[in-house]
């Protein structure tokens, strides 16, 4: 190694052994020391070399070290312990980390805390009330997918319903795809699968979030299951409508509860242990699946194309107008009634078409079931006679109609009279008279038919006139006499309100106060039915085109249903089936046209080749007026079909969106968004009901507005004065009067009704719009209906006619119990003089109201629910005002002199 070797390359060093390396190191070191000396004496020339030498020394050392470590590694290869510096290093933090086992250790205390106070999961709101069979995450995706896939299958299958002879020739990709379903049996299987998928989609899309709603129905079902049918039939419910009680068996439609009970017992018999609650929760979705199938059957009666039926089933399954009343947990009469409605119509059409007594009887049975389930049965009771009447007017009287109608009417009326709530109404009230009238009319027609076949036509003419005149006269006379004598009740108020939307507001405020009895707003149609609403007229038009008996039914139903849906939001429900059916007919016709006329192109070429005569003969009549004009291009057709497909997809999206956003939010648990977008749960209702359940006597009577009656009865399990079954208007008005009068007037009322607690809903702090102050005017109106002298709506408005709650509110308003209970102590939340009602954007007076006959018992977290306890009579016989004043430390004024001579005591 020469001195001048200069830079050492690491690569060259690797091949050297240890001795050589040490030697080189020594050399380099001496060279470096020489250079340093030179630097000091500053005689050397190559001072820059110092740097290189130093680097070289480092390189040599590195190699020596590396070699040494390599040897050591070799040496320790199979030894038990490795020196520390040879072990794998990682980072300091990793080396000091706990072992996974240690890291996952949990204290006993923590373990307990976690089991007893697990983190609340609000995403699954219903955990408390019910259970779902499917995990929620699945549902959401499931709600969308089957609908789409079912649709796709249909478009595929549609090819095979109208297989034109040429269709098989073309090698269309769609058709090859669908050529699996060529045979009739395969098509049947496919249809069943599709229907099953639609029913599945209908059920799944209703499972977004679950909360059991009309608690009363659930309570009644529990009673039915626990006590048996006969006890349920004779049930006297002493926990509601205190102190009147409710003859429940005679004032409800038992169909829903009995259905649940039967399912419950059937499952028990099959050794499937299931809680009645789960049945109640899932009944509505299950029946919506059946409704979809019923819609399929009914549509199939209308048109030969069963694709229309499948589409109708799909629409029915996911139309929001129907979902609104049939989400899981919505355990209301409508849950099963819509299925029965559609199914009864199906059986009616079947009976009418075949003139069969069997189908007529089945229709009557189904009608009886419907009557047992829902007060809306009157819709059928009016629609079927109307249909029959229209048919007769069109000159379509037939024995089929006679057999179908009379069978239905006789059996159906008998069946309906078995329900205690209905009783003799079918022969007593005006709503049922059309059905009876048409029944009589049909007998006459049948008789006339017979007479016509028996006597010559001229005699028949005179006979007809005399007979018709006489019957009409006698019938009218009979009706007038029966009505004036009181055998037939005049039209009820509810009926009037269907014709005159302003009627209820004036005469029956209790009906008008319910939001779902309001006239429908236009956007609601689009919201609930989306594109079906514009397809609906097309379908009705197509029915006009054919106009067989069953098409007349659709037309009549469409007119009738549209009118009533316009009058009342709630009746949107009865319109939805016919909209779905008509829209399905329209869509299927469109699709049929644009999918199956794919073939006219080859057909035309075929026609030119040979079978032109055949085609001309086939459409000889139409082709004269309509030359072969149309959209035949593959591109245009696919555009058309594609557009329709996009619409259908959008419809599915809309339905899913509406269901998840509008119809699946439980009214008891409110959800709001915080400024940062996270969800905030407002759970005041359940908090308050739980408070009542735990802190009050079991027979403590709760007075509240009737909206909360069922919830208090169900969740808090306390007797209530009034509830959502608004059968006694006077009792509700009494509560309204107590709420809207001053304390001096209300207190005796509350004492008389043995009220222990008063519950009010107050949204002022949170800006919750559904509170009692906003409903207050309805209370006033309902009370005024019974006591016009004591309660006066006008006095609740300011002199300028405004409804205010702030300092300028009228005196009556400020003294009313409702106002006082709502704003009692509310001022204390704010700095003096700055109390604000956030709901009504009103600044409240500086001094809040004072209460003397009530004391505040509970106020929920967000002040939504406030509960007051009614004080007992004063122990010392004072009135509450002076007792309260005394408690506050005011001295009683000696009023003897001011009042003039003292009233003398007389024993």
């Amino acid at each position: 190694m020469s001195k001048s070797s200069g830079k050492v390359k690491a690569g060259q060093l690797w091949s050297k052994n240890k001795d050589e390396l040490t030697k080189q190191l020594a050399e380099l070191k001496t060279e470096l020391s020489q250079l340093r000396i030179q630097k000091i004496v500053s005689s050397g020339t190559k001072l820059t070399k110092i740097h290189d030498i130093r680097k070289s020394i480092a390189r040599v050392l590195t190699v020596i070290n590396a070699k040494q470590r390599a040897q050591l590694r070799l040496f320790y290869k199979n030894k038990k312990y490795l020196p520390l510096d040879l072990r794998a290093k990682q980072t300091r933090a990793i080396r000091r980390r706990l072992s996974p086992e240690d890291a996952s250790r949990v204290l006993e205390k923590t373990k307990k805390r976690q089991t007893h106070f697990p983190q609340r999961k609000f995403a699954v709101k219903p955990v408390i009330f019910c259970c779902c069979f499917l995990p929620l995450q699945l549902q959401q995706s499931f709600g969308l997918l089957p609908g789409v896939s079912a649709f796709r299958l249909q478009t595929g299958e549609r090819q095979h319903h109208h297989p034109s002879p040429q269709a098989t020739m073309s090698a269309d990709p769609l058709q090859t795809l669908a050529s699996v379903g060529k045979g009739k049996s395969t098509r049947g299987v496919l249809r069943v699968i599709i229907l099953a998928l639609i029913a599945g989609a209908a059920i799944a899309s209703r499972l977004f979030s679950v909360i059991l709603d009309p608690w009363f129905n659930f309570r009644a079902t529990k009673y039915l299951v626990a006590n048996g049918f006969y006890n349920f039939w004779d049930w006297f419910d002493d926990r509601t409508w205190h102190p009147l009680g409710r003859v429940t068996g005679g004032t409800l439609y038992p169909g829903l509860m009995v259905t649940s009970g039967v399912i419950y017992h059937a499952l028990r018999a099959l050794r499937i242990p299931v809680d009645i609650r789960n049945i109640c929760v899932l009944l509505a979705p299950a029946f919506s699946g059946l409704t979809a199938i019923a819609a399929y059957l009914l549509t199939n009666e209308m048109t030969p194309s069963s694709s229309a039926g499948l589409l109708a089933a799909l629409f029915m399954g996911i139309a929001p107008g129907y979902i609104s009343r049939s989400v899981a947990g919505s355990y209301d009469n409508e849950a099963i009634a819509i299925f029965l409605l559609v199914f009864t119509f199906y059986l009616w059409i079947k009976a009418l078409k075949q003139g069969s007594m069997l189908w007529g009887a089945l229709c009557a049975l189904s009608y009886g079931y419907m009557v047992a389930s829902w007060g809306g049965y009157a819709f059928i009771t009016c629609l079927l006679p109307l249909h029959a009447f229209v048919l007769i007017c069109m000159g379509r009287y037939s024995t089929r109609l006679y057999v179908a109608y009379t069978t239905w009417y006789a059996l159906g009326t008998l069946a309906s009279m078995q329900i205690p709530f209905v009783g003799f109404l079918p022969v007593k009230t005006s709503e049922h008279m059309p059905a009876l009238g048409i029944f009589g009319f049909l007998q006459l027609l049948a008789f006339l038919d017979y007479v016509r076949s028996a006597i010559p036509s001229r005699q028949f003419q005179t006979f007809l006139w005399v007979f018709a005149g006489a019957t009409f006269g006698i019938g009218l006379l009979g009706l007038v006499i029966a009505t004036s004598a009181g055998f037939i009740a005049p039209w009820s108020g509810r009926f009037y309100s269907l014709w005159d939307t302003g009627y209820a507001k004036i005469h029956i405020p209790i009906i008008a106060s319910v939001s779902e009895h309001q006239p429908t707003a236009w956007p609601a149609f689009f919201f609930d039915l989306n594109m079906l609403i514009w397809l609906f007229p097309v379908g009705v038009y197509l029915c006009f085109q054919e106009l067989a008996d069953e098409h007349v039914f659709i037309v009549v139903y469409a007119l009738f249903g549209s009118y009533f849906a316009g009058v009342m939001v709630r009746l949107m429900l009865t319109l939805t089936p016919v909209v779905c059916i008509a829209a399905a007919i329209a869509v299927s016709t469109l699709l049929d046209t644009y999918l199956s006329t794919k073939s006219p192109k080859p057909e035309e070429t075929l026609a030119t080749e040979g079978s032109e005569g055949k085609k001309a003969a086939k459409s000889s009549l139409k082709s004269t007026s309509k030359p072969v004009v149309g959209v035949y291009g593959l591109w245009e057709k696919s555009m058309m079909v594609g557009a329709l497909g996009v619409y259908l997809l959008l419809f599915v999206l809309h339905c899913t969106w509406v269901t998840s956003n509008a119809y699946s939010s439980p009214s008891v648990v409110l959800a709001s968004r915080l400024p940062d977008g996270s969800q905030h749960i407002i759970d005041d209702y359940r908090e308050a009901y739980q408070w009542l359940r735990q802190n009050t006597r079991e027979d403590a009577k709760i007075m509240s507005w009737w909206d909360y009656g069922y919830q208090i009865g169900g969740m808090a399990d306390r007797p209530t004065l009034v509830d959502n079954n608004t059968w006694n208007n006077t009792h509700i008005a009494t509560v309204g009067k107590a709420m809207s009068s001053s304390e001096e007037v209300s207190y005796p009322i509350m004492r008389q009704h043995e009220v222990d607690y008063v519950l009010v809903v107050f949204g002022g702090l949170l800006g919750y719009s559904g509170d009692d102050i906003n409903k207050f005017l309805w209370m006033v109106r309902i009370a005024e209906g019974i006591w016009p002298d004591e309660v006066n709506e006008r006095s609740f408005f300011t002199s300028r006619g405004e409804y205010r709650v702030d300092g300028e509110a009228s005196e009556t308003m400020k003294n009313s119990l409702m106002y006082k209970m709502s704003y009692y102590n509310y001022n204390n939340l704010f700095p003096p003089g700055q109390a604000v009602d956030r709901m009504r954007q009103a600044r409240l007076p500086e001094v809040g109201p004072s209460l003397s006959t009530l004391e505040e018992a509970f106020t929920s977290e967000n002040w939504i629910i406030r509960i007051y306890k009614v004080k007992d009579l004063d122990n010392l016989g004072r009135d509450h005002m002076s007792a309260a004043a005394f408690d506050r430390g005011h001295k009683k004024k000696k009023a003897t002199k001011k009042k003039g001579p003292r009233a003398l005591r007389v024993e």
């Binding site: 006297f236 102190p243 009147l244 009680g245 010392l876 004072r878 005591r905 024993e907």
Partner: protein, 470 residues
């Protein structure tokens, strides 16, 4: 269960004190504890009846009516004090709380010292008005004691009190206790008269005679221009019973409870200066006995109602009845008389009534004495009746509130249900239904006959018929 429990409690209480039904801890408030010598006989009587008397002055620091929300004493005896108020431990609010917690109070006033303001405002809450400036003196120029107050006429001599109206038990007059003869009188020296309001919880025990009046001896020495009250409107001894049966007695003259008036001989000025013995000691015993729940206490031993129908299961106190059921209601009452529970018998011209009510009474029936169920310590009153034809939640309610008797307000809630579907008479029982039943029979037989006729009469030309139907 509740009545059983209350019996147990009462028995227990009786064993402990053998005296008052509501405990024997008595607090006496005096200006100066030494003053009690003046009342030694009265207090001695109380002690001999089993009361444990603690003496306190209003200013005492240790005086507290409540300890941790529980009463320290069962009764309070307030003698006249010279303090203007009664100190922070006896504010009107505390006294009201004491009464609300079932404590009894006996207040004695004197015309020589002004009534403490605390008492005045307590009494005004009870609708009892004291004279202005808290002082007053009742004088009567006809019924005075000629031997002791010949000049001032401020010692009233009155016959023993009689019930103020018929139908009230006589607890304080001679009729109630042992016969003392007619010549006993009540001496009421230097009394403060109170004017009672119209409250139904108040009853005067002793009213001033028609000729008495009240004036302020300090201000109106010369001429009485503004009369506070006069005649029978002035109550000398009055009783108040709160809704929870807590009692307060206002004795206008503390002096009448003093020893010297217990045995004093007085001369009735009105009766031609006839000498008489005073009734004061016995009267003081009765007044204090009433105030401290030794007499006039009613107890409900048990209440029973049951179905009163032949062949029905006679379950006791069922929760539910049916409309038009026959029902029997019985209530057992006892009255406490000094040491024992005795059967309670209604005063003449009075009635014990049962209300059967929902919102308002449907029935109000007199309860009659049921000898069969009475015993020597309780009397049972019962009635049977048919429930109204109205379903709902009803109350059996006995609301017996009479002066000098503790309040009885008993409410038993039952549901009255409607007829079940199988409880109506069958149609064949109702004679009015026979035409309809006959109609059904006729239709059925007619239909069968028609069918038979139809099936067994061969068609005349069968061929054409079949063709037609086809």
């Amino acid at each position: 269960m509740r009545s059983l429990f209350s019996i147990f409690v009462f028995v227990f209480a009786a064993v402990v004190s053998a005296i008052s039904t509501s405990g024997n801890r008595l607090l006496a408030i005096l200006d100066d504890v030494a003053d009690k010598e003046n009342y030694s006989k009265f207090l001695g009587d109380l002690e001999s009846r089993g009361f444990q008397i603690s003496f306190e002055t209003p200013k005492s620091e240790s005086l507290a009516l409540f300890h941790l929300g529980e009463r320290n004493y069962d009764h309070i005896l307030l003698f006249p004090t010279r303090t203007k108020g009664l100190g922070p431990n006896l504010t009107p609010n505390i006294l009201v709380d004491f009464m609300n917690a079932n404590g009894n109070i006996l207040v004695a006033l004197s015309s020589e010292v002004a009534a403490p303001s605390s008492l005045v405002s307590l009494l005004s809450e009870l609708d009892i008005q004291l004279p202005a400036d808290r002082t007053g003196l009742v004088v009567d120029h006809f019924h005075y004691d000629a031997s002791n107050a010949a000049d001032k006429h401020d010692v009233l001599v009155l016959p023993p009190p009689k019930p103020v109206r018929p139908g009230i038990k006589d607890f304080f007059g001679t009729g109630a206790g042992k016969e003392e003869g007619d010549d006993v009188v009540l001496a009421i020296p230097r009394a403060v008269g109170a004017a009672l309001g119209a409250s139904e919880l108040l009853t005067p025990i002793v009213r001033a005679p028609r000729t008495a009046y009240s004036y302020n001896p300090k201000e109106q020495t010369e001429v009485v221009d503004d009369l506070f009250a006069a005649g029978e409107q002035l109550a000398l001894v009055s009783a108040f019973q709160a809704r929870n049966s807590a009692r307060l007695v206002l004795v206008g003259s503390a002096e009448m409870l003093q020893d010297k008036w217990f045995d004093a001989k007085v001369t009735k000025a009105a009766d031609g200066n006839k000498a008489a013995k005073t009734f004061n000691r016995e009267f003081a015993k009765r007044v204090s006995g009433w105030a401290f729940n030794e007499i006039g206490v009613l107890r409900v031993n048990w209440i029973e109602h049951h179905l009163d129908e032949a062949g029905a299961a006679n379950e006791s106190n069922p929760k539910i009845y049916r409309i038009k059921n026959n029902v029997k209601y019985t209530i057992s009452l006892s009255e406490y008389a000094w040491t024992t529970w005795t059967p309670f018998f209604l005063p003449s011209e009075d009635a014990l009534q049962l209300e059967f009510s929902m919102l308002s009474p449907f029935y109000r029936l007199p309860l009659t004495l049921d000898e069969a169920q009475s015993s020597d310590s309780a009397s049972a009153y019962s009635t049977s009746f048919k429930l109204p034809d109205q379903h709902g939640i009803f109350n059996f309610k006995v609301n017996y509130k009479r002066p000098f008797l503790s309040n009885v307000e008993e409410k038993n809630t039952v549901s009255v249900r409607h007829m079940a579907h199988n409880e109506w008479p069958r149609s064949y029982v109702i004679s009015g239904a026979w035409p309809w039943i006959a109609g059904v029979g006729v239709t059925v037989t007619g239909w069968l006959a028609f069918c038979a006729l139809w099936m067994y009469s061969a068609p005349v030309n069968g061929n054409r018929e079949t063709k037609k139907t086809q």
